[in-house]
């Protein structure tokens, strides 16, 4: 029995190119196999692991590498990647910002939080700042409606936001 820290809790690694899955990623994926009666069930955790290795998104080579590791058709893996909002097929910033603007957050000022991000970062949603530091998107309810407005930066929740608080958070991102 192996208990793992969830994949995305560790910071994304440096982007690797051309090398396929790293030995560490492969070992982590292999360690999960015993948890499930089928290999296919390892796919979601494996994609989380691969996305971390590839710096927060899944280029085609990552999708192919995961498909090979789990002996699944590439098309199958591709279909899964496109289904889920947390898997990305486009480069993202070193820091990924998700702003909830579902109803409870809309009722407490989420729109203004998105405006501040747009002004401060100078890019639109889903675009990466020229220095590669940040990208942001609006997102569906993140289960933190009592601390609205809120946003998620990488894996961390920032709650009860104000425009000034957003600026502070941005300053802290390297």
């Amino acid at each position: 029995m192996s208990v793992h820290e969830p994949a995305s809790v560790k910071p994304p690694g440096p982007q690797t190119r051309g090398g396929g899955l790293s030995a560490a990623s492969r070992a982590e994926i292999d360690g999960l196999r015993e948890r499930y009666p089928t290999t296919e069930a390892v796919l979601l955790p494996a994609l989380h692991i691969a996305q971390r290795q590839w710096g927060g998104w899944l280029p085609d080579e990552a999708i192919t590498a995961v498909a090979e590791a789990l002996d699944l058709p590439v098309a199958r893996v591709y279909g899964v990647v496109t289904f889920y909002d947390l898997f990305h097929q486009k480069p993202v910033g070193r820091h990924r910002i998700r702003v909830c603007n579902n109803l409870s957050c809309q009722l407490r000022g989420a729109e203004e939080i998105l405006e501040v991000l747009h002004r401060e970062l100078g890019v639109g949603e889903d675009e990466v700042t020229p220095d590669g530091r940040c990208s942001y998107v609006h997102f569906e309810c993140l289960g933190s409606c009592d601390t609205a407005p809120m946003m998620m930066v990488d894996d961390e929740y920032h709650e009860n936001l104000t425009p000034n608080r957003v600026r502070q958070v941005l300053k802290g991102l390297k």
């Binding site: 296919e40 979601l44 409870s104 569906e140 309810c141 409606c145």
Partner: protein
């Protein structure tokens, strides 16, 4: 209703020692599991049945009855999948339970597994909840190390493995069969029922699916008995403690534990009343899928059956409160956008219908609607309702129908003015 209500599910919230196994045990933890292991599995199911515990994930199905549908015997694999996907807009109660009292959930899952003879449990947790996942993983490790999980649960000979499985951002994976598909490594597209998961569930085997809060009730039912549980609540069909997640325009949003069936007014008072002392305009009693109610329902008892009778549903008990400054068209348009985004695309009524609902509501909000749009919205609702493969379709029409039925004057105003009649609220002064 019991004389003075003491929190049950949230009693360890704010006690950091509950995060460790030692602390949890000192607080009385794992006594329910120890007791259950001395009982016959069927006696455990009977106790849960007798308690009247109904599912806290949305549908309110009796938990004990669900467990009793699982075929008996230990020869074939069976599973428990704990639904920790919590993606219904407005809902944040399960996160509180997982982040503050992970062992309570593990204990509830373990008792359920023992009752139905399942040797494997997956806690399917939404991908965004990394903090909850880390806390649960740590607690699981401690439970394995202490022999509470593994080959010989508390020395009883019962074997149980429990794993955290992280989702990847998809509301539909909260729907139980979408969740099973996702667990199996596929797109989270719901299955046609029947067969029900109790017969063909995860990996083709009989499977129980229960919500986090549902399972967290179980240790207390076993320790304190079904009669104690039934003494809390409105009537024999609406029993036990309940978490209400209240957000929007209230003074102190948060998760509050009350006896099930507290009135909306009492709940609002407990949350400090309306934000800035403004007037209540509308409230959603059970998450984004629940039809919207008006202030005339302020004394509504917030239990499954009373809320259903009032033309809405208790759902996940996510209460979203809106004050007089709120534009109802804009609010419902936002919810429709959500359902359109989250529709899995598998069946036509839901895929096309949710798209049209979003488009029509958007054009209304932008002053481009026509007099016929109310009828058009109702006809779209009619074409989705009862026609979709899973309940997401029905969920999507809840808020829209209630907008047309209960707030017709607001739609008319948007059409007549050729614009939204409400000034767009600004929440922060000078960008500060």
């Amino acid at each position: 209703m019991a004389a003075k209500f003491e929190p049950v599910l949230t009693r360890n919230v704010g006690k950091p020692e509950a995060l460790t196994l030692k602390g949890y045990r000192q607080l009385g933890g794992y006594e329910g599991l120890a007791k259950a292991l001395t009982m016959e599995p069927d006696a455990v199911i009977d106790e849960v049945k007798k308690s009247g515990l109904r599912g806290r994930g949305g549908a309110g199905f009796p938990a004990g009855m669900k467990w009793s549908f699982i075929p008996k015997g230990k020869d074939k694999p069976k599973y428990l999948v704990c639904n920790a996907d919590e993606s219904e807009p407005g809902t944040f109660k399960d996160r509180l339970l997982m982040e503050n009292d992970p062992h309570q959930l593990i204990e509830g899952c373990a008792i359920c597994c023992f009752a139905v003879s399942a040797a494997t449990c997956y806690i399917y947790i939404r991908g965004e909840y990394t903090k909850s996942a880390v806390i649960l993983e740590r607690a699981l490790k401690e439970a394995y190390d202490a022999g509470i999980l593994g080959d010989n649960v508390l020395g009883s000979g019962f074997k149980l493995n429990m794993y955290v499985h992280r989702g990847a951002g998809a509301y539909i994976c909260g729907e139980e069969t979408g969740m099973l598909e996702s667990l199996e490594g596929k797109r989270g597209q719901p299955r046609v029922k029947p067969p029900f998961p109790a017969v063909v569930g995860a990996f083709g085997a009989p499977t129980v699916i229960n919500n986090v809060e549902t399972l967290c009730n179980v240790p207390h039912i076993i320790t304190r008995g079904a009669d104690w549980f039934k003494s809390i609540g409105t009537d024999e069909k609406n029993t036990g403690p309940k978490l209400y997640a209240i957000s929007g325009h209230v003074d102190r949003p948060g998760t509050y534990e009350h006896p099930i069936g507290i009135t909306f007014r009492e709940m609002l008072d407990a949350a400090g009343g309306m934000w800035h002392g403004r007037q209540l305009k509308a409230f959603i009693p059970g998450g984004a899928s629940a039809p919207i109610l008006k202030p005339d329902q302020i004394d509504l008892k917030m239990d499954f059956d009373t809320v259903a009778k009032a033309g809405s549903m208790l759902g996940s008990a996510a209460v979203i409160v809106m004050d007089e400054t709120t534009c109802m068209v804009r609010s419902v348009a936002r919810l429709s956008k959500f359902f359109n985004h989250e529709s899995c695309g598998q069946c036509t009524p839901c895929r096309e219908g949710t798209n049209w609902m979003e488009l029509v509501l958007d054009r209304l909000e932008h002053g481009e609607g026509t007099e016929r749009d109310s009828q058009l919205l109702l006809s779209i609702c009619k074409n989705i309702g009862g026609q979709s493969l899973c309940a997401l379709g029905d969920a999507a029409i809840g808020p829209v129908k209630s907008l047309v039925d209960r707030f017709p004057e607001e739609i008319e105003q948007h059409v007549r003015n050729r614009a939204c009649p409400f000034p767009r609220p600004r929440y922060f002064e000078n960008g500060a």
